[in-house]
């Protein structure tokens, strides 16, 4: 019952937020609301027992994507044009979509029912067998990194692709007019914030530590390469914001990070290659060790590492490229 109430409250919160986002013209507040939206949905995921997802959603939705949005906001205008909405056709389409979904809703299996196909077919195998086959308590991790590890490889590549895409579009010389040097870039976002500097100095190490914890504790609790990567990146982003991009860049030169991001993917891939070379299927961790379980452990450890590396580097990449570009064209105007 209590769960029911919480869910309802959270969900209605979400609807409320979505409505506000749809209505407000102030993009900055929309960004904030979006972050909030992700936060709330993360909470909802927790109540749905999807802790890993919640973790990720919080880190990504509330963290990185808001950050990127804000960076983009530095270039684009803060307010939306008043008359830029043309609802007529949109409403029709949306309405149709909704009707279709409601129609589909009628035959959906009961929510929370333990006998739905979702529970019966494949998942049951994971729940019952994974301990024997993989030997780590966190099923999500075992499915993610072993049963469906190929999906995760794809996921890593997706991130990598995004990094490449952003570099290709924003990286390097800005298209067209741009001052050879823009003071914005060298200036830290908060030049004279002693307090900020001190506190950040205090916080950054624990954040990184936490990231490592998340990375390597993924087998036992919520977390894993992806969440860890995002957190790690967040730490560096904080550093960059407080101590200025110049210094951040000196510490983490772009080519190096780019290289690292590639290394992550390659690490993941080469684990698969190794198992191929040992005559097993791609990403079959049994190839890594005589003992099945230890093989699985090693494999999962390595691929999670790969994911972590790639995500970290790409996130940093994104943040640097975005904010740098933002300052450049900020310098233009």
């Amino acid at each position: 019952m209590i769960e029911f109430v919480i869910n309802v409250v959270l969900l209605s919160f979400l609807v409320l937020l979505a409505l506000t986002i749809a209505r407000t013209k102030d993009l900055l507040s929309s960004v904030m609301l979006c972050g909030l939206y992700s936060l709330v949905s993360a909470v909802f995921f927790v109540t749905m027992d999807a802790v890993d997802v919640a973790f990720t959603e919080a880190a990504v939705g509330a963290g990185i994507s808001s950050l990127l949005m804000l960076a983009a906001m530095m270039v684009t205008s803060r307010y939306e044009k008043a008359n830029s909405i043309q609802p007529k056709a949109a409403l029709v389409v949306v309405f149709l979509t909704g009707v279709l979904l409601f129609y589909g809703l009628i035959d959906m299996p009961m929510f929370g029912d333990p006998n739905t196909p979702v529970q019966q077919q494949v998942s049951s195998h994971y729940i019952e067998e994974s301990m024997e086959e993989i030997g780590i308590p966190n099923m999500v991790t075992s499915v993610l990194a072993s049963y469906r590890s190929y999906d995760t490889f794809g996921e890593t590549v997706v991130i990598f692709t995004a990094g490449i895409g952003v570099l290709a579009l924003l990286g390097g010389r800005g298209a067209g007019i741009r001052k050879p040097s823009s003071p914005a870039a060298s200036r830290s976002a908060f030049p004279d914030h002693l307090i900020l500097r001190v506190i950040s100095k205090l916080l950054i190490p624990p954040i990184m530590l936490f990231a490592l914890y998340v990375q390597f504790h993924g087998d036992y609790g919520p977390g894993g390469g992806f969440q860890a990567g995002v957190i790690f990146a967040a730490a560096i982003a904080l550093y960059a914001m407080v101590f200025g991009f110049e210094r951040a860049r000196k510490r983490f030169p772009l080519p190096v990070i780019r290289f690292v991001s590639a290394v992550g993917v390659l690490l993941y891939g080469s684990v698969g290659m190794v198992s191929i070379l040992n005559g097993h299927a791609f990403l079959d961790y049994h190839a890594l060790s005589a003992n099945a379980l230890s093989g699985q452990h090693l494999g999962i450890f390595l691929v999670e590492l790969g994911v972590g590396i790639t995500v970290t580097s790409v996130m940093i990449l994104l943040f640097f490229t975005f904010s740098e570009r933002a300052m450049q064209s900020g310098g233009q105007e």
Binding site: V118, Q119, V122, T161, G165, V263, A281, Y285
Partner: protein, 491 residues
């Protein structure tokens, strides 16, 4: 190693992409990429030969059995398309070197090659996989790479086109995700074979219908079926020329493949065509697409746009064959998928050569091109004839099959329309030819062909157009094999 071909097909380019970051000079980079994609092509050939020899190949990734792990399943259908994608991909990449140097700043070329490989790998991943969700993942890889590639275009409109494509594409992908989710909800599995077995139990449910609808709409967005085609012309027109060549030849085909796979293999003909008005809808959409596309194409002044709209029309043909829900019709569709890949590949590649030389794809710039770059223009003419469907070219073969399939169903009027539409095709191809050959250029023309390395891939494609139009055993054989298997699954 042979046992691992299915996965290597995808993994090789996928792993090669990050490796590119380690290579310094662009030339070396190019060489590397060509070799990689060439390797992929070789693999695909081996695969198809294996498939022909000994039926579908199953490969269990991670060594986990099918419903629990992800499996790759290569049969005639996707082996066929794998050959197309890797083959065209290689040829385009081969000629990319020159065109890219012209159209991209130096510091972007690296990213171009990486994104290109990723896109290719993504497409092949979609083709190879036997897992519904894995389709989505690789769909996204290829899509993101594609947005990047399109966005690299020189013209600022490329950015806008890419953005539109991104929005449309993501909506499509999300729809597909919803579709897959609902299917999963009803069956509890993601493996295609498994799904095919479990779906009949719940075939009557409304949820499944919704899932189907969402899935089809999503794919149609990616596929640029007529009313949802709006992103395509801009994307094709403003992307770097070679990118256009690659996309036009492969991307839409792969999307169509996904549709075929789900409609025939997973849902099964009985569900798709008996419970639903799919047939009529697609018939109408197909015809509408054919005519709208062709007619708009006639009025374009930019050749790239012109061909882009013709692509919309050609997709209409495929949809038409698909809507017949007969084995013949399916053969026609499959043939046209493959053949149109060859045709458009050749045309856009030749166009890239033109752009490389005269820096524009505006029709007005084509004056006297017949003398200025005879070989390139000759290629365009031959490929154009193939596009119209003149006998002794691949275009004729697929049209012929389409017509025969239509007659089988006794759809006379449609046959008439198809023939009429090829007249329209004739008109827009003719416009190019007329300007290039029969309009006197302003200045006096000097003959300046593109470098041989550029010309060779074009002509290989053109040759393929003619050869496969004469010796149809390979294509038709495979297509029929695939069609039978698609129909066989649910019987």
């Amino acid at each position: 190693m042979l046992a691992h071909l299915p996965v290597l097909q995808v993994i090789v380019p996928l792993m090669a992409a990050p490796t590119c970051l380690l290579l310094k000079p662009t030339r070396l980079l190019w060489l590397f990429c060509v070799m990689v994609s060439g390797l992929a092509f070789g693999i695909s050939l081996l695969l198809i030969s294996q498939v022909i020899a000994s039926g579908p190949i199953v490969y269990e990734l991670g060594g986990w059995q099918a419903p629990w792990g992800i499996e790759y399943r290569i049969d005639a259908l996707n082996a066929f398309l794998l050959v197309l994608v890797s083959g065209v991909g290689t040829l385009v990449l081969w000629s990319a070197q020159y065109s890219i140097e012209r159209e991209l700043p130096k510091d972007r070329q690296l990213y171009f090659y990486i994104a290109y490989l990723l896109c290719m790998a993504g497409l092949m991943g979609i083709l190879a996989t036997g897992d519904a969700f894995n389709v989505f993942v690789f769909l996204e890889i290829s899509s993101l790479a594609t947005y990047t590639l399109v966005g690299l275009g020189k013209d600022r409109r490329a950015l806008w086109a890419s953005y539109q494509y991104l929005i449309m594409g993501t909506i499509g992908a999300t729809f597909i995700l919803i579709g897959i989710g609902l299917i999963y909800m009803m069956t509890g599995t993601l493996n295609m074979q498994d799904l095919a077995q479990r779906l009949p139990e719940v075939a009557h449910t409304r949820t499944l219908f919704t899932a189907f609808a969402f899935f089809i709409v999503g794919v149609c967005l990616k596929l640029a079926v007529f009313p949802l085609h709006l992103w395509l012309p801009n994307a094709y027109a403003y992307a770097p020329s070679v990118v256009t060549a690659f996309l036009a030849a492969t991307a839409t085909k792969v999307a169509l493949y996904v549709m075929l796979r789900f409609v025939f293999d997973i849902y099964g003909v009985s569900f798709s065509f008996e419970h639903l008005p799919l047939q009529k809808i697609h018939l109408v959409l197909g015809l509408a697409g054919i005519f709208a596309g062709s007619v708009i194409a006639i009025y374009q002044t930019n050749v790239k746009r012109l061909l882009a709209y013709s692509s919309v029309a050609q997709i209409g043909y495929m949809i038409l064959g698909f809507s017949l829900a007969s084995e013949q019709g399916l053969v026609a569709t499959l043939l046209h998928m493959f053949n149109h890949g060859l045709i458009k590949g050749a045309l856009f590649l030749a166009l890239a050569a033109v752009v490389y030389r005269i820096g524009s794809a505006e029709l007005s710039q084509f004056k006297g091109l017949g003398k200025r770059m005879p070989l390139t223009m000759a290629a365009i003419v031959v490929a154009g004839l193939s596009l119209i469907g003149v006998p002794l070219t691949v275009g004729f073969i697929s049209k012929w099959y389409l017509v025969v399939a239509l007659l089988e169903q006794g759809w006379w009027p449609v046959v008439g329309l198809v023939l009429l539409s090829s007249m329209l095709a004739l008109i827009y191809v003719w416009r190019i030819v007329e300007v290039a050959y029969f309009q006197q250029p302003d200045g006096e023309v000097v003959r300046e062909e593109v470098p041989l390395g550029f010309l060779l891939p074009i002509w290989i494609l053109v040759f393929a157009n003619v050869y496969l139009g004469i010796d149809t055993r390979f294509t038709v054989g495979i297509a029929e094999m695939a069609a039978q298997s698609l129909f066989g699954v649910q019987s």
